[in-house]
């Protein structure tokens, strides 16, 4: 058990969701229930500490959210 997740999602629920959301974000299928936040560019040009949301461009990390949760188990 890896046991870390933003929000635990049951396998059956996840598989059901995956089956109905195979199309890409913004797909026009009436069964496409997937929604996406805007893409975040972590290194806009020019790459610099000032333009990146990382605290530093080099050897840094950034907390990001996954609304759908991820069960690392």
């Amino acid at each position: 058990m890896f046991g870390t997740s933003n929000r635990r999602t049951s396998l059956s629920a996840a598989l059901t969701l995956s089956a109905t959301a195979l199309a890409a974000c913004g797909g026009d299928s009436p069964t496409d229930v997937s929604t996406c936040d805007p893409e975040v560019n972590l290194f806009p040009t020019p790459v610099s500490d000032a333009t990146s949301p990382f605290a530093d461009v080099d050897d840094s990390f950034l907390q990001v959210a996954f609304a759908g949760g991820f069960t690392f188990s």
Partner: protein
């Protein structure tokens, strides 16, 4: 979850260290090509757009690396798209991967029973096979990523 600038991701706590062995990372994590990467390493890389992006969707999280610069050798860059699904499945579609001194795999951070495995396209039940599935671990027991072995491969870690 925490994305770092060296080609990896951790859960619960951020880890930004470079040139790590698997055992050095004490949080659950995924190493796509965790080495010593630096998007701002040189004049060329600071002008190269879109080296790292992410998108969070209701059913998946996608991180995209586009020629992410290696800090040690200017000619080394790394490209991949990694998709995490809520089920725990992880799919990594690699483009060209040139960095050699990297860590690749998934692990729970304890490293008491990591499995060092041969490169293949699918890994099943990674959580029940041990505390980690390690493909490359240059700063640990190995192996080193040579010959662009990851390039243009799609690797899936199934829970």
């Amino acid at each position: 979850m925490f994305l770092n600038t060296n080609g990896g991701m951790t859960f619960g706590a951020g880890e930004g260290d470079y040139d790590v062995a698997a055992a050095d990372v004490t949080s659950p994590g995924i190493a796509f090509f965790w080495g010593d990467l630096d998007a701002g390493d040189n004049v060329t890389s600071t002008a190269r757009p879109n080296q790292m992006k992410y998108q969070s969707c209701s059913d998946r999280f996608v991180v995209t690396y586009n020629q992410l610069q290696d800090n040690d050798i200017d000619a080394w860059t790394n490209t991949a798209t990694a998709t995490l699904e809520a089920s725990g499945r992880i799919t990594v579609q690699y483009g060209t991967v040139l960095s050699e001194d990297i860590l690749v795999g998934v692990f729970n951070g304890t490293h008491t029973n990591d499995r060092y495995v041969a490169l293949q396209n699918n890994y099943s039940a990674y959580s029940t096979n041990g505390t980690g599935t390690i493909l490359f671990d240059d700063f640990g027991p190995g192996p080193t990523h040579t010959g662009q072995a990851l390039s243009n491969r799609t690797i899936t870690y199934n829970p």
